[in-house]
């Protein structure tokens, strides 16, 4: 008797995969406008499973630890006390705030009354409404076939929020989405989705803030889809400060029409394992994306940033600057890809990834890629892994500054290069405080004497 070769169906599911399948069996695809969407998401996830090392996109990031865990869907969790919430909040940020606990919107902590043409709707409500823009956009930008975790998110799509900005509108205040990962007893998987519809000539400042408290063992699997109409400008912040025990996986997927501009700030400070896939399609001429990224990796943490920019149309531009400081037993992975498609002429695509490797047990794997199928292009990329500049260090020492302080000063300065590109002062200050917090001897480096006096 011969044994049939193992197929996908017969493959043994990991505890995590089994728990997702159980949740799916329990919930099904629902009966709102997103039924097909969920079914497609689950089918795609079922086909791929959790990515394993053989996939090029996951070469340096193993999900074994995640796969071993069983996750249950988010249930009700007691809302944090106002002072605890305030402790996690971004100090000095004057914005509209929506709070999510383990993916679920908590209306009583949220301020959903958008002004100036800003519409904020719980995603489940939007998906239930026939003909809603959310149904058009959700699943149309984040590809379930190439991103298994986005597929998983889509299988359970419902949590999260739809944000619509009317044509020409420019809300005066930033919108702050606060995603709290809190202990719910056993590990919880949250699959929030943010769907942004920025109409032509509109402007939006959006902060996605992933944070939490305690020894959580949760999985946050967040997907954001942004559609920018012609001339729309979105300044997007993604601040990830989850406790160093959780898993954080995210996708940020943008589609930019003519002359639209997306500025993304991707700031990683937390989670045991963090992986973010940024995918931006510059679909029409004049579209532009700026990608700033900063990661501080210490302890035994692992941070993986994958970015991909598709220049689908002529006269599109991308500019990427990612920097990381990797210490202790931390591991940082960067993969940045710019693809210039056939006939997309007059392109500029620039990319820089620099890493400071500070410890003997730390590791950096970086892979900046260019795939170019047009000729009238100006593309460049650079990647470095190394230490502090010896000449700069000597210069500081020769001025009497101690080696320890000098090192911290230079490390701070290295990270500060990304921080100074953050226009929103409250976020920038928080980032600088974060960097300085990791560098005890670097206090006040970023600030002028005048500020201090």
């Amino acid at each position: 008797m011969t044994t049939a070769p193992a197929t996908r169906d017969q493959r043994r599911l990991s505890p995590a995969e089994a728990s997702f399948a159980a949740t799916w069996a329990d919930r099904g695809p629902g009966n709102d406008g997103a039924t097909a969407l969920r079914a497609r998401g689950f089918a795609a996830f079922e086909a791929s499973g959790l990515p394993a090392g053989r996939r090029e996109a996951w070469k340096y990031t193993s999900l074994r630890a995640l796969a071993r865990r069983e996750f249950r869907p988010a249930g009700p969790v007691r809302a944090p006390r106002p002072e605890d919430l305030a402790a996690l909040d971004i100090e000095g940020l004057d914005g509209l705030r929506a709070v999510f606990i383990n993916g679920r919107l908590v209306p009583e902590l949220s301020d959903l009354d958008g002004d100036d043409g800003l519409q904020i709707v719980p995603l489940s409500d939007a998906l239930a409404e026939r003909g809603h823009r959310a149904l058009e956009i959700a699943g149309s930008i984040a590809c379930v076939d190439t991103h298994p975790l986005a597929a998983l998110n889509q299988a359970f799509v419902g949590d999260g929020v739809f944000i619509g900005v009317s044509p020409g509108a420019a809300p005066s205040r930033p919108l702050h989405l606060m995603f709290l990962s809190l202990d719910g007893g056993s590990p919880v998987a949250a699959h929030p989705r943010v769907v942004v519809d920025a109409a032509p000539e509109s402007a939006l400042v959006l902060i996605e803030h992933y944070t939490g408290r305690g020894e959580i063992r949760n999985l946050t699997n967040a997907v954001t889809e942004l559609r920018l109409g012609h001339g729309a400008v979105v300044e997007h912040y993604r601040l990830q400060e989850e406790p160093a025990t959780g898993f954080h996986i995210g996708g940020l997927h943008g589609w930019l029409e003519r002359d639209a501009r997306l500025i993304s700030h991707n700031l990683h400070f937390g989670a045991a394992l963090a992986r973010l896939d940024v995918g931006v399609s510059l679909a029409e001429p004049g579209a532009e994306v700026v990608l700033n990224g900063l990661y501080l990796v210490d302890g035994k943490r692992h941070v993986d940033n994958h970015t991909r920019v598709d220049h689908l149309a002529p006269e599109t531009r991308s500019d990427e600057l990612y920097r990381g400081v990797v210490d202790d037993r931390g591991r940082a992975v960067f993969n940045g890809k710019a693809v210039v498609h056939p006939d997309a002429q007059k392109i500029e695509a620039h990319q820089s990834n620099r890493n400071l490797l500070l410890s003997r047990e730390a590791e950096v794997d970086t892979k900046p890629e260019l795939e170019i199928y047009a000729d009238d292009v100006k593309c460049s990329h650079g990647a470095t892994v190394g230490q502090l500049d010896r000449n700069a260090l000597f210069y500081l020492l020769s001025r009497g500054i101690s080696r320890k302080v000098a090192r911290d000063m230079l490390t701070f300065a290295f990270a500060e290069t990304v921080a100074v590109r953050i226009p929103l002062a409250a976020v920038r200050r928080r980032i600088e405080a974060r960097i300085a917090g990791a560098l005890p001897d670097a206090r006040m480096i970023g600030h002028g004497v005048e500020d201090e006096a």
């Binding site: 700069a392 210069y395 020492l397 302080v405 300065a413 600030h447």
Partner: protein, 250 residues
């Protein structure tokens, strides 16, 4: 104050200094001249303690102490200052912070209290006027985007604020136009002091028109081959270095 005896030093396994002797007393201004590759900058870097400059023989005594045994920052705190030939750009570290951190480290070493922000600012502003520098530079990155002249002025400003006992100016005149040279020279002259020694390392005697040295040394082949006064520099201007090199090789 400084006594260099039979100093031999290598860079990348290449012997650069080959038995250099030099003695400098407080209040004196010395010029060290020499052709390219004679070891001038090596001497400056060895005194400041730069990595990669390996002393293979000889001693350097500074205020009765073995200077070579000290880390670069300890030398700086004891009053050794190097004005760099190529000041390093350090984006992200602002000038004011560098100055304040350096000054307070040195003051702490001397047992003086830290300056508070107001005192510090007052001091810096006063010294900046001396160097004709705009205040906006304080909040810029160290030397970031500075012109050649600005960098050199910034070096002298640091010297004016840190008030070293022994200042080594490495090719401070190179890359300066005549106006910038005058400003830099005026800054240096204002820092002449009976307690302070200044060593100028230079290829051309032009700088010496503005900062008059007490002694002029000629460095060639890694050693001081001739010492004289101001007139030696003028002679070099006329005759070049070759006659000395020939003399030295005999």
């Amino acid at each position: 104050m400084l006594k260099v005896t039979n100093l031999h030093a290598r860079v990348d396994d290449k012997a650069i200094l080959t038995g250099l002797d030099l003695e400098i007393g407080a209040g004196e201004v010395h010029a060290i001249m020499g052709p390219n590759g004679s070891g001038k900058s090596t001497l400056a870097n060895v005194l400041a303690g730069r990595d990669g400059y390996e002393v293979t023989e000889g001693t350097v005594e500074y205020d009765g102490q073995d200077l070579l045994a000290l880390a670069p920052e300890e030398r700086a705190r004891r009053g050794v200052f190097l004005a760099f030939q190529y000041p390093v750009e350090i984006p992200g570290v602002n000038n004011a912070y560098l100055l304040k951190a350096a000054l307070n480290a040195i003051r702490a070493h001397r047992g003086e209290p830290e300056l508070d922000a107001f005192e510090f600012l007052a001091l810096v502003k006063e010294r900046m006027e001396l160097m004709h520098m705009d205040e906006s530079f304080l909040n810029r990155g160290v030397n970031e985007g500075f012109s050649g002249g600005e960098k050199k002025r910034n070096e002298i400003l640091q010297m004016a604020i840190l008030e070293p006992r022994l200042a080594v100016l490495d090719e401070t005149d190179s890359g300066l136009d005549i106006d910038a040279l005058k400003v830099v020279a005026a800054g240096v002259n204002s820092l002449r002091d009976p307690e302070r020694a200044i060593v100028m390392v230079t290829h051309y005697q032009r700088l010496l028109d503005y900062i008059e040295p007490d002694y002029v040394h000629v460095l060639s082949g890694g050693r001081i081959v001739k010492t004289g006064d101001r007139t030696l520099a003028l002679e070099l201007e006329d005759r070049g270095y070759d006659w000395l090199r020939e003399a030295a090789s005999v």
